[in-house]
């Protein structure tokens, strides 16, 4: 692997934990990454087909209630994540236009895999009520059994599939 200038993962882990704790202290809700996307999907669906976003539909929880409901701050939080990542990348001199992939893998293969994986994650995050942040880390921090089951399943699933998608990283 190429030379890296990343910060110590344990220190960044503590930093991450403190960010989560701070969010819990302020709002009682943890951090999330998938929620903002569902809010956007719900809003778009509401414009195209208002009939399908009523009470009892999967979209409803993202649309009900007065502004700012829970998911409004998730959008701002997600904007914060992108800004934070960009700032950190600028400071570390890592900002450049590139496709991160294995040296021998084609760009098309990598982008296809990214799309396929992204669709899988987006689809299944609805079943697991959140992603590795919103379901995994938040729940794990309050010792929710379901979140721990989810986290270990994620790693299990990753190891199972790793062999079949290895080409893009080689």
């Amino acid at each position: 692997m190429e030379k890296e200038n990343y910060k110590n993962p344990y220190i960044m882990g503590v930093f991450l934990g403190l960010a989560l704790l701070f969010t819990y202290y302020i709002s009682g809700h943890g951090l999330g990454a998938s929620g903002a996307f569902y809010r956007i999907v719900a809003e778009i669906t509401n414009v195209i087909s208002p009939a399908s976003t009523g009470e009892g539909s999967v979209y409803y929880s993202y649309l009900k209630g007065p502004e700012p409901s829970k998911s409004t701050w998730l959008i701002f939080e997600s904007i914060g994540i992108m800004l934070g990542g960009f700032i950190s990348g600028l400071i570390g001199g890592r900002v450049k236009w590139e496709t991160i992939k294995g040296a021998n893998a084609s760009r098309g293969l990598r982008l296809t895999m990214a799309l396929v994986g992204g669709i899988l994650i987006g689809f299944v995050s609805k079943i697991t009520l959140g992603c590795t942040s919103g379901q995994g880390m938040n729940g794990a921090a309050v010792l929710s059994v379901g979140s721990w089951v989810f986290l270990f399943s994620v790693f299990g699933g990753g190891f199972m599939a790793a062999y079949f998608v290895r080409k893009q990283w080689k």
Binding site: L20, F150, G157
Partner: protein, 107 residues
């Protein structure tokens, strides 16, 4: 006493602004550790790079200890924190599919 929003100490619009700030911290922590790099994320599944579990579990342990002690000290009521119900089979099977997606996308 926290959570501040739950106890009506701050208004919901303030949490939106604070959300941006927490996201900023979250993003800086992830990117600085190298988790803005798809290859580095996927590398855990080939046992080449352990950044993902290092960051993730250090973060979780920090938050667990924080929640516990802030509750004992009377600073934050852990009973008012929200988290989802446990749906065992959906989380188990869904988690495995999520793992497929994670190594495929490097996300």
């Amino acid at each position: 006493m926290g959570p501040l929003l739950e106890y009506g100490i701050i208004n919901p619009w303030t949490t939106v602004a604070i959300g941006l700030f927490s996201g900023l911290f979250f993003g800086v922590a992830l990117e600085s550790a190298g988790l803005g790099n798809a290859k580095k994320i996927a590398a855990i599944f080939y046992l080449k790079d352990f950044t993902v579990p290092k960051v993730m579990f250090t973060g979780i342990v920090t938050a667990i200890l924080g929640v516990y002690y802030l509750d004992i000290l009377g600073i934050m009521d852990m009973g008012r924190l929200s988290f989802s119900a446990t749906l065992l089979w959906p989380f188990l099977i869904g988690g495995i599919i999520f793992g497929f997606g994670m190594v495929t996308a490097g996300l």
